[in-house]
Symmetry: C2
Subunit: 201 residues, 2 copies
């Protein structure tokens, strides 16, 4: 960006917006311009929403979810099955499963996956607290809802070994053809998993 | 988004982020999560940058550029050619031309293009102030740097007619093959323009 025509204030706004996932340098400029042009409709409300987020949003010490109170609304929800713990990599995964709305259980957010290449070992994740929670006799099942990536699956493998001596059933998500998926567009790994885990109709 | 698990504060942050150009509902969720997770590195600085923008950024009454002072830095820049006025649709176009850095002139931001279908007539744009500036005897040339779209070109046509009785030369950007462009991928209109305006080597 031409430094001489855009003041440091706009420049800084653009640079920070470019750090958001999904925005690059060009779209950050567009976003900054949209904010400046829609001052009252967008810039002022978004600024206020961020101030609120800074003041009020905390991370739940129990499960790792984000909320305005700790323990979070999910952990405090008495209507949820207290015997099932769903382990996810990230808060976004928790949100995705809640949008699916198929299971009313509690969660445990690892905060990522084990990735030696990126220097992320088991110690960097919320694994000790998971093992502690899984030791609670109320927990009967731990569902490893990790990404079907190499890192997600090796993290799941690592957790399975840690949980083997706890009195819990460890399960993982089914793998197969996604709903609406066309076989022709699916990779061989997915098709192999779908054939291997085929079900009688 | 599942209302029951994400509090209204996060929900509002996501909804406002989704209004930014380039972010949809899904990427707005990712952006909100990134902001919450990178509280000190991203959320707090971006919030501060927005507060500064709200407090300090104004629209230049002379050319329509955005800056922290009015007249803006471009209008106050004595090193620029005072005889040339570059007319653009939007501030983003001004930034793009300044990045190209090929001409040190002053600008006039229309604030859009004439689009009867969207209810945008000439009255909604900064056209009267352009005609007034073009009437200044210091101005010798008005460059219509409008988009090469139907709306941009019809706006250029409209402006040309208004400027015909002023003592200024009205020019427009050259049309042709973009630098790095492959002929095979260009549309017929661009190729026709490039052939028509061919130059002797």
């Amino acid at each position: 960006m031409a430094k001489q025509i855009v003041g440091p204030e706009i420049e800084r706004l653009v640079q920070l917006l470019a750090k958001l996932p999904g925005l690059g340098p060009r779209s950050a400029r567009k976003a900054a311009l949209a904010l400046i042009k829609k001052r009252e409709d967008l810039l002022v409300p978004l600024n206020a929403a961020m101030t609120t987020a800074i003041e009020r949003i905390v991370i739940c010490g129990l499960c790792g979810n984000v909320d305005t109170m700790a323990p979070c609304a999910v952990c405090r929800d008495e209507a949820r099955d207290p015997s099932v713990l769903i382990v996810v990599e990230d808060v976004g995964d928790l949100w995705a499963l809640e949008r699916a709305g198929v299971m009313k259980a509690r969660y445990h957010v690892l905060g990522g996956h084990i990735s030696p290449l990126d220097g992320v070992g088991p110690d960097a994740l919320n694994i000790p607290s998971l093992i502690e929670r899984a030791g609670d006799e109320a927990i009967k099942e731990v569902i490893l809802a990790l990404n079907a990536t190499v890192e997600g699956q090796s993290t799941a493998h690592y957790l399975t070994e840690l949980l083997v001596d706890k009195s819990v059933t460890v399960t993982r998500l089914a793998q197969g053809v996604p709903i609406g998926g066309e076989l022709d567009y699916l990779d061989e790994g997915t098709l192999a998993a779908a054939i291997k885990s085929r079900k009688q109709v």
